[in-house]
């Protein structure tokens, strides 16, 4: 994950970035989705708590695709438009597991500090 860091620091908001990647990977793990649907899905599932900035979403999608974690293909969306669908690759699935594990670890650690400090 060496290049992950340098990639992240080149963006301005490190934490959000990492989180967004994780969320995107998780959302497309179920089925191929296009960009708009990905952002809507994240908003719905998080009960509108998490708002996805489009300015971050599309760069993230292209970054994940470049890393080989997402695969893109053109298909037809629900309203009969040509749309770009993203789906998880095997490498992406491994990455998702890895990132989920580290997120849980982090969240637990933060919880523990909040409760016991």
């Amino acid at each position: 994950m060496g290049d992950e860091r340098s990639e992240a620091t080149s963006q301005r908001s490190e934490v959000l970035q990492g989180t967004l990647d994780l969320l995107v990977l998780r959302v497309v793990a179920l089925e191929p989705l296009h960009g708009w649907a990905i952002s809507k899905r994240i908003e719905q599932v998080s009960r509108e708590v998490l708002l996805v900035q489009q300015g971050s979403l599309y760069p993230a999608l292209h970054r994940l695709q470049r890393r080989g974690w997402l695969r893109a293909s053109w298909g037809t969306s629900e309203n009969n438009r040509r749309a770009k669908f993203y789906q998880l690759t095997p490498a992406g699935r491994r990455q998702l597991e890895h990132e989920t594990a580290s997120w849980r670890q982090l969240a637990d650690a933060v919880d523990r500090v909040l409760e016991h400090a």
Partner: protein
């Protein structure tokens, strides 16, 4: 591993199909907005237009998203480079005047730098083709009077035997000989005699065959063997490989060709071939005919070798007080000797000038870019506001100046390719080895280095400054004053530096011009009008030194010349005016008993009538006559004054060489002449009558009324009529010889004048640009002043005062610069005090005038403008 491959494949795809990748991105983003619009219409019941507006608003800056996404594709650096280069070229093409000015500065600067670098490389940097050059030294003796002198055969043998710090001492013997190669047209070949260890000492490996082995030519040996220069082998023997080992007929004898030297071999004066010189142990110890060269033993430095050598010669002086008493010795690095101090000074001066010009060109381009950059503040701020990153802007500007740099360098290279042959022909004769100056790989590498450093140099400053522009400033309209002040300060610094450098070049070239015209005005004492000279060389086999045949030959020649229509006065002398050789010895009053009482003089041996032919007035007494009864001499005015101050020297006696030397009676006094180098004072000169000192090789001089080329032909033919077997003598107009002798100062002058012109022009373009830019950027303020009642004169004053301030700072720094390089200039100048106030005043006022003009034009335009229009543009 696979991930990396995937990533590379992805990047390649995007890169190769950039257009499709970009249109797909557009489509993807458009799809997002369309989906959002429909969602909004469904959920909030908005109409399509309102929904779309809201969707777009929610999306944020489309351009920024697009830019950020493209950055994530990881192919941006290459894409951007290509785009920046295209954009840069387009931007440059849009402002042709700016581009032309910048390119012109660059082409001139780069072209001149490459050309001069090639010259400096050939003259100064490229090592002489000898092995371990750092250990080769010239060995000279020093006369009791302190002058450098050659050595003698017996001294050389003692030096060899008694020194341990020198690994061999070889010598070139004087005089060189002329050998005739028979053919349709007989050719005279210059044969230089060298000791058998000469080529071994220099470490020269022959191209073919061999050279002599040290010890191969012992004293008394009269082996007839030659080593040919490569050029001689090619030109006169057709490069025949069978020649080596064979014999050739030169003059009356057959000589064995031992070998051929490599083409790059050069030593001292040009030689066509080399013959062996056996050390002559019969020759007097006081007869100095050898120019000696030595190799320092490994690990020995020149100072300790010289200490040992001086001990040896001091002991020799005790042993032979008559001939070596009071003499000293000296070692000088051969590399330094071969170059000569004047060539070094000229070359270094050129290098300084060219570096100044290159810096000027860079400063100018930087200045121009900066000025334009400041007016592009709005554009840059706009780009930043629309999401372009700071480094993205820096990159774009750097790309733009790189385009300038590359095109400028290419133009410069072209200019150098055109200029080099010109410089070679201009400089030949003035600088040693200049004919080797050529563009080569190193030259090209140098160009690229110059182009890159130059483009970075002038690209960096404006780029960094521009990109500091914050987007906010654009919106607030405060940008112009904000970044303007800083950029003006930087530009002012550049302009001051340019003015200073240009002043250095201008005053240097004015000083050189002054010096050169002084040199031209110096009367040499020889009347050049219609004077022509032919170098005659008589083959040794038919004409011996001092023989009757020699005298009869010159009698015939002078008769032939005098009977040629169009030729009048004729004579013959040992020294070709302004060419040489320079002959020196010592003389004294007859009562002198000590060597120290003898004075150093130049001497010439002339035929009767020579003074008249050269136009040298006889001040007292008479000219030589054909059959002089006793040993007589004619003295130059300065020598007569030196030996017999305030007395009439006619009838008095002068002793030649040493206390027991021959005595001659003075029969005449002639005017002083500068017959070798007009730049140096005339030397006291002692004239022999040819009747007493019959040299075989003389220069025949004649004066005529024909046009130049006919004079040359007439004299050459007259000489050949005296002996049709001789090759045609080398004949030239003495006027041409004089101007050739001034080739070096003329070259420096022309080059400096060129540089000064270019530098002045460059500096003025820079200054004009600064004032014009200031006027433009202060347009609003000036308009306001006029609207509030300022008169046009006030506006002019405001703008002019800026230029004048810079002018004074630049002048001050420039004068300091002139002081700094005056030491270097002194070696190039003749008869001109380096800081001659007149010249500096002239340069400074010329400068001030030009500068004011450069400031005045934009100031006038600014003062004329309509205040309302100016204010409105703000």
């Amino acid at each position: 591993m696979r991930r990396i491959l995937d990533e590379i494949r992805h990047r390649l795809w995007v890169l190769l199909d950039r257009r499709r990748a970009n249109s797909e991105l557009e489509e993807e983003l458009e799809h997002h907005i369309a989906m959002e619009t429909e969602a909004l219409m469904r959920e909030s019941g908005l109409d399509r237009d309102a929904a779309r507006r809201q969707a777009a608003l929610a999306f944020g800056g489309l351009g920024a998203v697009r830019e950020a996404t493209r950055e994530q594709r990881g192919t941006l650096p290459l894409e951007d480079l290509a785009r920046d280069l295209r954009l840069g070229t387009r931007t440059l093409a849009r402002s042709p005047r700016f581009t032309a000015a910048a390119l012109l500065s660059l082409v001139l600067g780069v072209g001149a730098t490459i050309t001069i670098f090639a010259v400096v490389d050939a003259v100064l940097l490229r090592p002489l083709p000898y092995e371990h050059l750092d250990r080769l030294v010239e060995l000279s003796e020093i006369t009791p009077e302190g002058d450098l002198f050659s050595t003698s055969d017996l001294n050389l043998l003692d030096f060899r035997a008694r020194t341990t710090t020198l690994d061999g001492i070889a010598a070139v013997a004087f005089p060189s000989q002329n050998l005739l190669l028979d053919g349709d047209e007989p050719v005279r070949l210059r044969a230089v005699p060298v000791t058998d260890d000469f080529f071994a000492l220099l470490g020269v490996r022959p191209e073919r065959g061999r050279t002599w082995e040290p010890g191969e030519v012992p004293p008394g040996n009269d082996a007839r063997s030659v080593v040919l220069a490569h050029q001689t082998w090619q030109r006169h023997f057709g490069g025949d490989p069978g020649l080596v080992g064979d014999t050739v007929r030169l003059g009356a004898e057959r000589w064995t060709v031992l070998g051929v030297l490599p083409p790059e071999f050069r030593f001292g004066e040009s030689a066509d071939l080399w013959i062996p010189y056996p050390i002559d142990i019969e020759r007097e110890r006081g007869d100095h005919r050898l120019s000696a060269y030595a190799r320092l033993a490994p690990g020995v430095d020149i100072a300790s070798a010289e200490r040992e050598l001086r001990d040896v010669i001091t002991r020799l002086g005790e042993q032979y007080p008559e001939t070596v008493g009071g003499w000293d010795a000296r070692l000088r690095p051969l590399a330094e000797v071969a170059l000569g101090p004047e060539a070094r000074a000229t070359t270094l001066a050129l290098l300084v000038a060219v570096v100044l010009l290159l810096l000027l060109a860079c400063a100018n381009v930087s200045s121009l870019l900066l000025a334009r950059g400041a007016t592009r503040g709005d554009e840059m701020a706009m780009r930043r506001a629309l999401g372009a990153g700071r480094w993205r802007l820096v990159r774009q500007l750097l790309a733009e100046s790189s385009v300038l740099g590359v095109v400028g360098a290419a133009g410069g290279l072209l200019l150098a390719a055109i200029a080099l042959p010109l410089v070679r022909s201009l400089g030949s004769g003035a600088l040693p080895r200049i004919e080797d100056a050529a563009l080569d790989v190193r030259g090209a590498a140098f160009t690229i280095a110059v182009a890159i450093s130059a483009s970075l140099l002038f690209g960096a400053a404006p780029a960094l400054q521009l990109s500091a522009t914050a987007p906010r400033q654009w919106a607030g309209g405060g940008l112009r004053s904000g970044s303007g002040v800083r950029s003006t300060r930087l530009r002012s610094t550049l302009v001051v530096a340019q003015l200073a450098a240009a002043l250095v070049l201008t005053s240097s070239s004015l000083l050189l011009f002054d010096s050169f015209s002084a040199l031209r005005r110096v009367p040499s004492g020889i009347d050049l009008d219609g004077l022509v000279a032919a170098d005659v060389s008589l083959p040794m086999d038919r004409y011996g030194e001092g023989s009757e045949q020699v005298r009869l030959f010159y009698d015939r020649v002078l008769e032939e010349v005098r009977s040629t229509p169009g030729l009048e006065a004729a004579g013959a002398t040992t020294t070709h005016p302004f060419r040489g050789p320079s002959l020196a010895n010592t003389v004294a009053r007859p009562e002198a008993t000590e060597r120290a009482e003898f004075v150093e003089i130049a001497w010439r041996s002339v035929r009767p009538g020579t003074f008249r032919a050269l136009g040298m007035p006889l001040l007292r007494g008479r000219d030589f006559i054909a059959d002089e009864k006793e040993l007589v001499t004619i003295l130059s005015a300065s020598l007569a004054e030196r030996l017999y101050p305030g007395e009439d020297p006619i009838g008095r006696q002068v002793r030649w060489i040493r206390p027991e030397g021959p005595l001659a009676r003075v029969v005449g006094v002639v005017a002083d002449v500068r017959d070798l180098d007009v730049a140096t004072e005339p030397r006291p000169t002692y004239y022999w009558n040819q009747h007493h000192m019959g040299w075989p090789d003389l220069t025949v001089v004649a004066r005529g009324t024909l046009p130049g080329d006919q004079l040359v032909r007439a004299l050459s033919e007259a000489v050949r009529r005296a002996d049709p077997l001789l090759p045609p003598p080398e004949t030239s107009l003495v006027e041409d010889d004089l101007s050739r002798s001034m080739a070096s100062p003329r070259l420096s002058l022309q080059v400096f004048a060129l540089f000064a012109g270019a530098a002045l022009a460059t500096a003025l373009i820079g200054l004009y640009g600064l004032v014009a830019f200031t006027a433009a950027s202060r347009r609003g303020e000036l308009g306001l002043r006029v609207a509030l009642g300022a008169r046009p004169g006030d506006v002019r004053r405001v703008l002019l005062s800026q230029g004048v301030r810079l002018l004074f700072v630049g002048l001050g720094l420039g004068l300091v610069g002139v002081l700094a390089i005056s030491r270097l200039l002194r070696e190039l100048l003749f008869d001109t005090a380096v800081l001659e106030p007149r010249v500096l005043l002239l340069a400074s006022s010329l400068f001030a005038l030009a500068t004011l003009l450069a400031c005045l034009l934009p100031a006038l335009r600014a003062a004329r403008q309509d205040p309302v229009a100016a204010l409105r543009s703000e």
